[in-house]
Amino acid sequence: MNVVEFTALVFGVSSVAGFLGALTGMGGGVVIVPILTIFLGADIRYAIGASLVSVIATSSGAAAAYVKEGFSNIRIGMFLEMATTLGALLGATLVALMSTSFIAVIFGLVLIYSAFLSVHSRLHDKPDDLPDPLASRLHMDGAYPGDLGPVAYHVHAVPTGFSLMFVAGALSGLLGIGSGAVKVLAMDQAMRIPFKVSTTTSNFMIGVTAAASAGVYLNRGYIDPGLAMPVMLGVLIGSLAGTRVLIKARPRWLRLTFAAVILVLGSEMIFNGLTGRL
């Protein structure tokens, strides 16, 4: 396979990954690293470098569509970004200290967890309760557009959410993924932010978090232009198309299929990691 063929193949796979990632709301980045390493034989450090770059592109590219809906909360996002960027810095630094097999195993576990989370139904938004003093002092409470006018909400458990965000950032920096699943978990379940607000705010945060590890990746030579170019362009075009096709309806069968693919890729990553092939 020469460079033209390789580039075309990576571009095609990345477009499909970006498209499905946007349709299912799981992000395309999670499947890029397993495909590049398991099927195309790339070293995992080149793969996470290319994947991380595509994560920044998707997050920033989708932001315009989300802003029109008016759900994101910039204060929650910025406050939690202190945790995610520091975590990302730590995660990116750890890449050089861990064996590639170990990184592959962690990657596999995170994939399996993401697949599980996407199939499990989320907690429904609870009726609003008392404000939390810390969240109120940080002006985090807000309102989002509902069917009958603005719906006010309160934010809770800021320290717990902040700690979970540090973990999300560290995983993002270590694995070159957006860690959207962990971010939404922290905001949904711990901080009890309404689902739509947490999803869009998480998307906003993903780009900034990824930029924090991208600097380290660049300085250490993990970002190869020849590999990152088709991945970034493919995922970007695929995800923009996916967002345009369907913003709200996310068919269940499609999500289940994508979750199954992620489950298989996760198991492959763990197997290949344990047998020392990655």
Binding site: N2, V3, V4, V208, N219, G221, Y222
Partner: protein, 128 residues
């Protein structure tokens, strides 16, 4: 530049979305142009990403990437586009610092400055 009123959060959101979209489009265009040159020059060689060697020094630092781009080296041009992409969220955070300052929200000016500090530390090679 002076704004008539402190920015509301909603206006901030819209402005941020414009920054992000412009940054991504610009970066993608430059990556595409570099990609065409890259395929022209290296298209019929064999790619090898099996063994990790790391990128050459010129593709790892901002001055190196800029001088490669000015010399019209294909890999340098792609890397310059990727650098712009990485810089886009940094511009976004810088903008938020200014917007919170105009709102006279001291807590969030400090919060965004911390985030900005981490991003610059990473990009400028502090964590190498």
């Amino acid at each position: 530049m002076s704004w008539p009123k402190p920015w509301t959060d909603a206006q901030m959101d819209v402005a941020i979305a414009v920054i992000l979209r412009t940054g991504v489009l610009l970066a993608a265009t430059i990556v595409l142009v570099g990609g065409v040159f890259y395929l022209q020059r290296y298209g019929f060689t064999v790619p090898d990403y099996r063994v990790f060697l790391g990128e050459p020094a010129d593709l790892r630092s901002i001055p190196g990437i800029i001088s490669d781009t000015l010399a019209l080296r294909p890999r340098g041009i792609i890397q310059f586009g990727l650098l712009l992409l990485i810089a886009t969220p940094i511009v976004r955070v810088t903008f938020a610092v200014a917007a919170f300052a105009l709102q006279r929200d001291r807590v969030y000016v400090i919060v965004t400055l911390i985030v900005l500090g981490v991003l610059l530390y990473s990009l400028l090679g502090g964590a190498r």
